[in-house]
Symmetry: C2
Subunit: 403 residues, 2 copies
Amino acid sequence: MKNIKIGLFGFGVVGQGIYQVVSKAKNAHAEIVKICVRNPRKARKIEVDESLFTSDVDEILSNPEVNLIVEVINDAEAAYNIVKTALLKGIPVVSGSKTMLARHLPELIEIQKQNNVALLYDASSCGSIPVIRNLEEYYDNDLLLEVKGILNGSSNYILSRVFDHKENYDDALAQAQALGFAESDPSFDIEGYDSLFKLVIITVHALGTYVSPDDIFTYGISTIHDSDIRYAREKGVKIKLVAQVVKVSDEHFTMFVMPEFVSPSKYIYSVDDEYNGVVIRGECYDRQFMFGKGAGSLPTAASILSDIMARQHDYRYEYKKLRFLEKPTYTTDIRLKIYVRFAETNVLHILNFEHICEEYISEESNYVVGEIMLSDLIAKRRQLAAKDIFLANIPIFFLNQDN
Amino acid sequence: MKNIKIGLFGFGVVGQGIYQVVSKAKNAHAEIVKICVRNPRKARKIEVDESLFTSDVDEILSNPEVNLIVEVINDAEAAYNIVKTALLKGIPVVSGSKTMLARHLPELIEIQKQNNVALLYDASSCGSIPVIRNLEEYYDNDLLLEVKGILNGSSNYILSRVFDHKENYDDALAQAQALGFAESDPSFDIEGYDSLFKLVIITVHALGTYVSPDDIFTYGISTIHDSDIRYAREKGVKIKLVAQVVKVSDEHFTMFVMPEFVSPSKYIYSVDDEYNGVVIRGECYDRQFMFGKGAGSLPTAASILSDIMARQHDYRYEYKKLRFLEKPTYTTDIRLKIYVRFAETNVLHILNFEHICEEYISEESNYVVGEIMLSDLIAKRRQLAAKDIFLANIPIFFLNQDN
């Protein structure tokens, strides 16, 4: 067994969890030799030898003893610089920075190849649920048709409080923040960006294609109203914030992040509170469901530990699917059925519905249910933003596939 | 990409599924070059070039073109001979034979090491759910505390029919057989042996220790009565056939297969019909749940395909946990709380209850609920067998662990 000497970047909630988990895992043969933080003298909840801390990035990156970088800092740009520098120096990296990864994966994959060095990041998507590793190693064939799930714990916690416990949105959000599920700036979670970045990373390992986050339709839950909840309840469904990547034909796949009406027969219907749940659908095996704690200090740290231990055996992602001969390409040229609730803004002046199935007008609020091209939603993103509108996907068949 | 040339042993339900799946997976670069069956001239449901078939084992094992053996035959002894011979010749093997593996794993692990050759068998446990691979590669650390689940689809299908659909046991069994979930001799499934063999394999990869199937308490569902169903319903629980391996302290783990009263708050409560569900519990990440189709032609074949593709990258199990310095050892010296329903046989004359919590006597049937040592249940196995007795585990805390 080789000894793993870790240089850790970041000592927030996740970094402290990693410190605890690595100390506990005796068979990991791993040790944290240096921790880089902004302020080494900051008071911390857990007791750590002060000499471990540094604020100098180079004290880790130029330390010949360090044979693994673990990077769990919030600042995506700083994370990118650290990870890139380490990889260029040939030092393997375990990272949890989804924003950074979703923005820079193509370059970081190329650097891994050029420098024959590993970058692992299972913790970046769904914390302790091994989604990336399974997509890379186990569902590594042509049979995969869809990955769909609840990837963000904070927004799911809020929806569970609002929906199942009949709290109002602001109370639920405050409670999520008090419990540490939501960041002090919650827009990252509730506007769907956290789910989006995870979906971008998942898609690289699911179908072998990188799609820029900017090209993917993303709509969050911040504008949800009582009338939306009521509508969903009347239909016997729950509203969940769902991220999905779906093969719509042999040649094409689509992907988006959107609130969705989820019926009780679906696996993700029962994914409540801060939990994550992912459905992997394939030819032959139908649907598989993975469920667990997607975030939090120790669950995320446990996932990081799995990546650290994978380095004991020189594991790296092979990105096999990127080299597949017959890969589907990304399309937004698909028809969705959506529900749109609106007040002052008449959405019918914004959105080009191809077919309208329901229309409801009242003094309090209005809604329309209709079919629309995903490309139209993307084109109208700016016009939809920051308006008193709520939008949700109503799952239909894409071609002859049940979603 | 190297081309994988497969010699396939067995062309029953699973073998035919493998043939279909391998033909479909264009990116696998795999091809079946020979199929060994007992009777090459037997009529088959799917059309296959007759020249592929042989009844001569050596025509595959001595074929220099074959670089992977896939073995999915029912006869455990024949499977053992084929797998052992192949490994001794240095040919890697993918196997789905749980009985064979559960009986011979220690020897086969040793042969793999001596001959530097791979034996993969994810399909042997829970079909398309990647339990073995995840235990080996992802939950490969000290944090794992428990693996517990419904590992047998046939018995679960029967229990679902009996329990949720109020059918009687014989009708449900007949239906399971008609649908192909249960073998013509169903005792393997319903007496718990299928679950047992899977549990033995899982435990090797969960905790790094092989325990002989003969040393593990196994009790099935064939003696279930209406009064047991009624009792469970009154308590608001379902009866499931559950296999589990649990760390009960830092030094010890226990394992058994037994019907269990499962309350609605548990993940496995919702695992119905022919589905499998596995809960992996660990320090830090709490419980993770994996759910899917555990058996059947194509789901099992999809799992075999994952193992075939793993050979593209020379993947093999490292059996890391077998080398752990601090491994818990197997104990049956733990106290269980069980329900025992009996008619003529007075179980109080057989079993040494340490404490009796409930006792019920009626003209129709009697039951007792009490605490008993697992070692006593093992000692009394013969006396319990083939009697009008039904026994179920009532989950309690082992030490301070919630089960």
